[in-house]
Amino acid sequence: MIGSIASILVDGLAYAMFLFIVSVGLSVTMGLMGFVNLAHGAFAMAGGYVVLTAMRYFGVPFIAALALTFFVIGAVSVVFERTLYARLYKAGELDQVLLTIGLAFMAIAGATYFFGPIPQHITMPDWLAGHIDIGLRTVPTYRAFLILIGFALVIALWYGFERTTLGAKIRAAVDNRRMAQSVGINVDLLFTLTFAVGSGLAALGGGLSIHLLGLTPTFALVYLVLFLLVVSVGGLGSVKGTLVAALVLGIFDTTGKYLYAEAGGFFIYAIAMAVLLIKPAGLYGRE
């Protein structure tokens, strides 16, 4: 029994970390600019294909491919941000949604053209392929690895947000954009930067998820609902909120599927509804 609880916890945590890594960028950019970016999942999907291409055709090792996808997609996202997104910052939400969902559809069609609609898999390096013994039970090494990466990122992001000047500026801009601008913070530049980091993280999440979920072009939209759920339950612009929401949703989803497979898929929606009924702005959002 304790063994089962341990393995559900490991699976749930691994899933939660994947949700956190992909969603945190979306949360911060939405909090900062109020820009509804439905193409966020497309960046994650593209990130997955960068990892796949690098590993399969150029023989890049897995870890290096993850670093590569972070920078490549981060850089590509800046191009999109400057040429397309920047035009719609002052526009209504509907315009933003139409632009970004259009981008997501184009990304799906593009990925299907180049890689086909069938799920793609990558071969894990040997040191990630096996199982490790955590005392109570053996767990797949890859899941343990995912949890470690997740926590490393949580610490890095927490440090960057809470302990650096750049982080302080971002927090200031999220809290009150006009005030931040009037004390001389270049919010546009700040936004471009966070957008790039957010998209890079999404790409990293996409790359990490290949072994977990398989990679298909429709990743861009299928998991978008989950990312938006994490962001809204956690509260816009809050790293802590995103983490807590990802943990709650990830672990409850896995536990629900284990205990009540018949209704497992509904758990996270029930939780999300309950949270939003009590706190409409999310767990750590500002009312």
Partner: protein, 402 residues
Amino acid sequence: MKRFHLASLAALALVMSSTAQAQTVKIGVMLPYSGVNADLGTQIDKAFDLYVKLHAKDIAPYKVELVKRDEGPPSGANAKTVATELITRDKVNILAGVVFSPSAIALAPVLTQAKMPMAIANAGTAWIPTLSPYIVRFSFSMWHPAYPMGEYAAKNLGCKTAAMGYTDFPPGKDSTEAFKTGFEKNGGKVIESIPMGNPAQVPDMTPFFTRVKDAKPDCFYVFIPSGSHASAVVKYYGEVGLKQAGIKLIGPMDVAPDNKLPAMGDAAIGTIVMGHYSKDLDNPANKEFVKAWEAEYGKNFIPDFMSAQGWDTMAAIFDTIKKLKGDFSDGEKVVDTLKNYKGNGPRGQVSIDPATRDIVQDEHAMEVYKKADGSLGLKVLGTVKQVKDQCKELKVGRCGGN
């Protein structure tokens, strides 16, 4: 005078074109060409094309034309529209294909209304042929493999208890019910039945498989819609540690389709499936089929049970064209001919039971093993001859009403 001349020319052209049309049988092909299940469509599509290419000369002077359309997602949401379009706009003479049961279920009323015959090349939910008198099925019913698998698991594999996991849509429920019936009639007991997500996406199966591991059954019966899901099942089976825990993986042939075997790895070895086809099946028609397939598509593109079904479906349509001399104007006549089909295909001897319009074929218990050259193959352990759909034989649920 000149005017009259033109008019008679036009009339002549009209007559000629209509006779030319009568010589060509238009086949509306509905298969999934997009989404995670596109490779299922490809297996059947390639079989259709190959059969037409090799046998077009057999039906001269008549010709066939394939009009191909995307069947859409596994929910069947697009099927009715696509079928209606093929019938009313493309004016096809017969429909062929359909991988997903929900598609077949959705479009059945259209067939009845249009008196349009349909040859089903996959869609295996047992009661589908009862939905329209114009449906003839050349693939299988879920009960074909699942019911004998239940018997075989209890009698030959020494399974006393079993857990079942299935993709949550009609054929999944059908397949597990069939397995359970066969298994429990022979003294086994099903202790878990777990729905595992929907067919449109391959889910993370870890929580489901962990639950099975903790329930400690002797056997784990899995139904998934073949293709990408099959690769995932074997991956999680090894990763979650069910194999190490001594739980035997069993299922219909969807769990170990020939074309997915090479990528499955050693976790698949020892998996036992019940099915009507494997690339390695030893009969002359299959040897010829595999040879023709490899000559056309190369050795790396491997045919599987869906290709075999596609091949027999097209063979039956060609047989009907010969018997009716290319005249497909009367839908009922076409169905009457199709439902009396008997033939020898890659699966061996197959025929249609005219009473149920469903296929009669051999079912083989097969084990995944490592061949001498290191690749994975399917070894036949035992054969049940000429199996009829047990759902209709035993009149279970919707199969009984007709």
